[in-house]
């Protein structure tokens, strides 16, 4: 199942799944799931635009993603504005695809995912982000834990502005790179669904992170095996597998609570 051609995509996919799982738990704790939707879609706009302009894909996607995140951070509206930004991104991709043939191909790649075509560049980028995630994890954890307190206020000092900016930059990088490697729907499914399922199973914050990683990595491995053995595209299979695992986690947690009442 892991020939030489598929080893690089497999490793890149596994690493970005771990990063997206961490980001997903963070977004769940921040209550920012709509932001992820808008961010992922505008990463796709950046990728499609880069294909039209013949510019570096990752760079353009990161610039647009950062711009969108900066816009969303300036507003307290956590639902309608991100949804509007997402829809604007969807419209932008559709218009680009309708007017430029190369944009049409790029849009399809971002929508369907291109994991099997991940090469050394993608693997390096994902590996660097994975290492950065491990190094930043204690600081990220501190920011997300502190975000739970409001409106209560602790007497201890809050995370520094520098740490909060780092967290936002890291989230942008995770969503943009995840969308580039897995495709927007698969990246969003890895961001949103494992953390949602894990939130029902976990006993505490540490459990949330562990269960999220467990569900996300299991989802990736199951989807990888199914899509190859059934000769199906990877991204939609991953979305369905993650949806099934998250729903299963929720049902299992509800059943456990009912039995222990």
């Amino acid at each position: 199942m892991l020939g030489d051609l598929l080893l690089m995509p497999f490793v890149a996919g596994l690493l970005i799944t771990g990063v997206l799982g961490l980001a997903g738990a963070g977004l769940f704790l921040r209550g920012s799931v709509w932001q992820a939707l808008a961010l992922g879609q505008w990463a796709a706009v950046g990728g499609v635009l880069a294909s039209v302009l013949h510019w570096p894909v990752l760079l353009v996607a990161l610039i647009l993603g950062t711009g969108v995140m900066a816009l969303l951070q300036r507003s307290t509206d956590r639902e309608r504005l991100p949804l509007g930004v997402f829809l604007a991104g969807l419209a932008a991709v559709t218009l680009l695809a309708a007017n430029f043939s190369q944009a049409s191909l790029a849009a399809a790649a971002w929508a369907e995912g291109q994991l099997y075509f991940a090469g050394p560049n993608e693997l390096w980028a994902v590996a660097m982000l994975a290492v950065a995630s491990i190094l930043l994890a204690p600081g990220l954890y501190r920011v997300w834990r502190h975000a739970q307190l409001a409106p209560d206020v602790p007497a201890t000092r809050p995370p520094t502005a520098w740490l909060r900016l780092t967290e936002i930059g890291w989230l942008v990088a995770a969503v943009v790179l995840g969308s580039m490697v897995l495709g927007v729907p698969a990246a969003l499914a890895t961001l949103l669904l494992p953390a949602w399922g894990a939130a029902y199973l976990a006993h505490n914050l540490r459990g949330l992170f562990l269960w999220t990683q467990g569900i996300a990595l299991a989802g990736f491995l199951v989807a990888w095996g199914l899509s190859l053995s059934l000769d199906q595209p990877f991204a939609p299979v991953l979305v369905l597998v993650n949806a099934a695992l998250a729903s299963g986690a929720r049902l299992a947690a509800s059943g456990y609570r009912e039995r222990n009442r």
Binding site: D152, V153, P154, A155, T156, L205
Partner: protein
């Protein structure tokens, strides 16, 4: 340098407070270090707003607010709605608040429970305990604890525990709270100060 107990831990001078625009004041008030005050008054007069101004959640539009440089402020907000699901335990909450759980058995029993599965009274007791012990490693004279309606949501089961937590605050810690519950204030042993006495014309 240790704080001078004769100095106030906070001082409002002709301060007008609000969010987007001033709605309370002008207000002049000094709170001595180590005092235990309850601000009283009818709903909507601005008691919670005053506490929020001290934590930076509301603004001082005119006049001055001076806080002692060493002051470390913790706030128990009037309400803290819980998300569903919310996979945090009592231990997680205390760590986030920079607090050590007290010895009290009823609080200890909540530490391993998920916050979204506590009763309203248990959740209020846990938050109160964390707010009271946030950054408790600092000298008491540096600590200013703000409690906004701490008696809210407390059922008979946990009310006594809440009072015990407040009365066992180390001497020298400054406490400023709001409450409409006279029995609770009396049991907690705090001085009652009507907020209207500190608001002056013009």
């Amino acid at each position: 340098m240790s704080p001078d107990p004769a100095q106030p831990i906070l001082r409002f001078q002709s301060a007008r407070l609000g969010f987007d625009r001033p709605v309370l004041g002008p207000l002049t008030l000094e709170l001595p270090i180590g005092s235990r005050w309850a601000l009283t008054g009818p709903n909507g007069i601005g008691k919670s707003l005053l506490l929020k101004a001290l934590t930076g959640q509301a603004r001082v539009h005119h006049g001055r607010l001076e806080l002692a440089p060493q002051a470390r402020i913790s706030l128990l907000a009037q309400d803290h709605p819980r998300r569903q699901p919310w996979p945090l335990s009592g231990h997680d909450w205390f760590r986030a608040m920079g607090a050590q759980p007290p010895e009290q058995a009823r609080v200890r029993a909540l530490m391993d429970r998920r916050l979204d599965r506590l009763s309203g009274g248990q959740w209020q007791l846990l938050r109160l305990a964390a707010a009271l012990s946030s950054h408790a490693t600092r000298p008491p004279a540096e600590r200013l604890v703000l409690l906004d309606e701490p008696a809210n949501h407390l059922d008979a089961e946990v009310r006594h525990d809440a009072i015990e937590l407040i009365t066992s605050l180390p001497g020298g810690t400054t406490l400023l709270m709001t409450s409409h519950d006279d029995d609770f204030l009396q049991a907690a042993g705090v001085e009652r100060h009507p907020l209207t006495e500190y608001i002056h014309a013009g």
